[in-house]
Symmetry: C2
Subunit: 419 residues, 2 copies
């Protein structure tokens, strides 16, 4: 099993800042979950000499090299040529790669241009990673004690090929199984979580525990190595149980992508629908729900009542209430959520009203003050947030909290009282 | 003036995939706009030996090294120590850095912990880049024919320090001025744009022209070098004029961030308001408008009519029309936009209805079919799109086209007929 990896990304567009090297992030996470340490990332342009220098250096200090990019038909097969040369290999024709590529073009109804032909040539002795998400196949070979994996650059293709081709290949090299499980937490800060776990983490060797922080959320990844997958899972189970005891309902899911994904699944299970009434989040909640395929089964829709009169005319918030308390207030959040349920005909509805900034509102409410409400058949509740000073963060936290209210309502762990 | 740069990012969190190296993207763009070529990006962990190896290598082949990260109080000043050692320099106390840091803690009302003290030490002979956005100062020095710049890792601090400290420093090293101007295009594909420009681009040396592609948009950056800024601008002007003639109304702005920013500015100038009725985009248009500070001056709000009945109950689309044409149809897009204007009381309104995927709709409309409408006092128009097969792309293109309709209406260059 390889243990020391380096990533080499090939692409002048990275050096020009056209795109960020998100492939490196995805691969670093994925390799780390396989128990493989990544010591360097390197980015080079579409330049054979500089790529060769980067590969020679990586070869001298790593036993796994993963390249991304430079495999497409317009790249003169830069990456394959250079890697083959560095390891003294020839490129040989791969009939299956050709058949796959021809079938791909047939499927999308376009003629295959001649420059695609170079994609059918791979370093001799390679394992081919067929590309079901584009045209350029990836591949892997082993030479001089180093494993080399070449993946396509477009993030969608790279990520799918890593998950479905490269990760299984790397697992097959291991003398045992490595299994990871990621717990997602909401309602606890990164530093607080790390403080509570530091001793525990340092004392652990197998499984290991790695914390990650995202905007307003945290992750805990448990990784275990064992002779078999079942044994690895058995090592993870008690650690997960202990963490669930420690963090309780703050853990909103395991191996899930987001709060809204959990909300969508729970709503489907219960056969309930959701609506939204958004002021400071301005459509972010609806956008996040509908980012998910299948949202139409549970999401009725939303009202973005950005201008105050729209809160009255579309959502039916009484004008007297808006005058008395102002748009950013708990009573208005409550009335907005109730109005959304009524207007949209949904079982549940969430609402947000707050000051996203950069300026405080006309009543002097500070940036970051947000009221988030949930309305259900049993009643309505409101949560008050102080969500920092950056516009983006305020909006993200408001949306997170709206989803958290729905999740807790559906789990029966809502701390707020419905009335 | 330095011409060959390498970026070195220091941080184990990058090697674990906790974050993407967006600093490298930002710096690559910024350096390229200053006429500096970036040949390598390297990421190393918080490890002195591996950082030293990366610096020694960079020193052997570049005349500008820019580091990011490893400057904070918890990093043992890794980056400054290693860089100073590589260039045979001592760290010396910088009183101004200390005064600034103490003032920062006073301002935020927290006690300065002892580990902050190491931030006051910088390599001898450094130019200090004061940090108005955090605590760790950056710095620059020149030794052995190489310029070294050290910037903090947090993207917000890194980006501000580059813009306000490092870029002016680099400009001061140049024997002339370098000026860039970026034209943004919508309604033309990357490859078509490149085909139209290839000969022109290859023939140009000063100014240079660099194309960038984003999801559904393109950019053209013109960069000129001259003894003075005014002379550089004078070199850019005729190139911009020629490009504007060539691409006409496809150019939607210069040095602007997005279509919605242009829409917001034009609406403000004209004193008009906007509303939205979104089906397939599910709130993305409202979200993008309200991402912008100041959106409340022109954006009334929106209706996300995700479920078909909401199109009738909230937006007033006739049920007979929904039955006859289906929700994904030009007449429904038109009625949604008209309904949004009426319901939200806005001067203009846009609407989207389409199939975002992954599956075709119940009437067999294919993924990617979208109708986008604009309703104005003079009438309503509809644009039909075939926006590919990825859910994210379909939604992005639908939103782009909605903003494009508003922009062209406000510019008087709408190709669609209002009726």
């Amino acid at each position: 099993m390889t243990h020391t990896a380096e990533l080499i990304a090939v692409g002048t567009e990275l050096l020009l800042g056209n795109i960020a090297n998100t492939d490196a992030q995805m691969l670093s996470q994925g390799l780390s979950a396989l128990g493989i340490n990544v010591y360097y990332h390197t980015v080079v342009g579409d330049n054979p000499g500089r790529l060769r220098a980067a590969v020679e250096l990586a070869k001298s200090r790593a036993d796994l090299i993963v390249t991304t990019g430079g495999l497409g038909p317009t790249c003169d097969d830069l990456t394959k040529n250079v890697l083959a040369a560095c390891f003294g290999k020839k490129l040989v024709h791969n009939p299956e790669a050709e058949a796959r590529c021809r079938a791909f073009f047939q499927k999308i109804g376009r003629e295959m241009t001649a420059n695609n032909a170079q994609q059918f040539y791979l370093p001799e002795g390679s394992t081919v990673f067929q590309n079901d998400w584009g045209t350029a196949p990836g591949c892997a070979f082993e030479a001089e004690g180093v494993h080399v994996l070449m993946l396509p650059g477009p993030p969608r293709e790279c990520s799918a090929m890593f998950r479905y081709r490269a990760a299984p290949y790397l697992r097959s090299l291991a003398d045992g199984a490595i299994v990871s499980r990621t717990l997602k937490l909401f309602g606890i800060g990164e530093s607080e979580m790390e403080n509570q776990l530091r001793e525990q983490m340092n004392a652990m060797t197998n499984p290991t525990l790695a914390p990650y922080a995202k905007e307003g959320e945290c992750e805990l990844r448990i990784t275990a190595k064992a002779p078999t997958e079942a044994e690895a899972r058995a090592l993870i189970a008690p650690v997960e149980a202990r963490l669930r005891e420690q963090f309780g309902e703050k853990i909103y899911g395991a191996d899930v992508s987001s709060l809204e994904e959990v909300v969508l699944e729970r709503l489907k299970e219960r056969g309930l629908t959701l609506g939204s009434a958004e002021s400071c989040t301005g459509g972010l909640i609806a956008k996040r729900m509908t980012d998910l395929p299948g949202a139409s089964a549970v999401f009725r829709g939303g009202v973005v009542s950005y201008a105050t009169p729209v809160k009255h005319t579309v959502l039916g918030v009484p004008e007297a209430m808006l005058d008395a308390y102002g748009a950013v207030s708990a009573p208005v959040a409550r009335a907005m959520a109730q109005g959304a349920r009524r207007t949209l005909g949904s079982d549940l509805a969430v609402s947000t009203t707050g000051v996203a900034g950069p300026d405080s509102d006309e009543r002097g409410n500070p940036v970051g003050l947000v009221y988030v409400a949930l309305s259900a058949p049993e009643g309505t509740c409101v949560r008050e947030l102080h969500a920092g000073t950056s516009r983006e963060r305020v909006r993200t936290m408001a949306a997170h909290n709206a989803f958290d209210l729905v999740r807790r309502y559906l789990n029966g762990t809502l701390r707020e009282k419905l009335s």
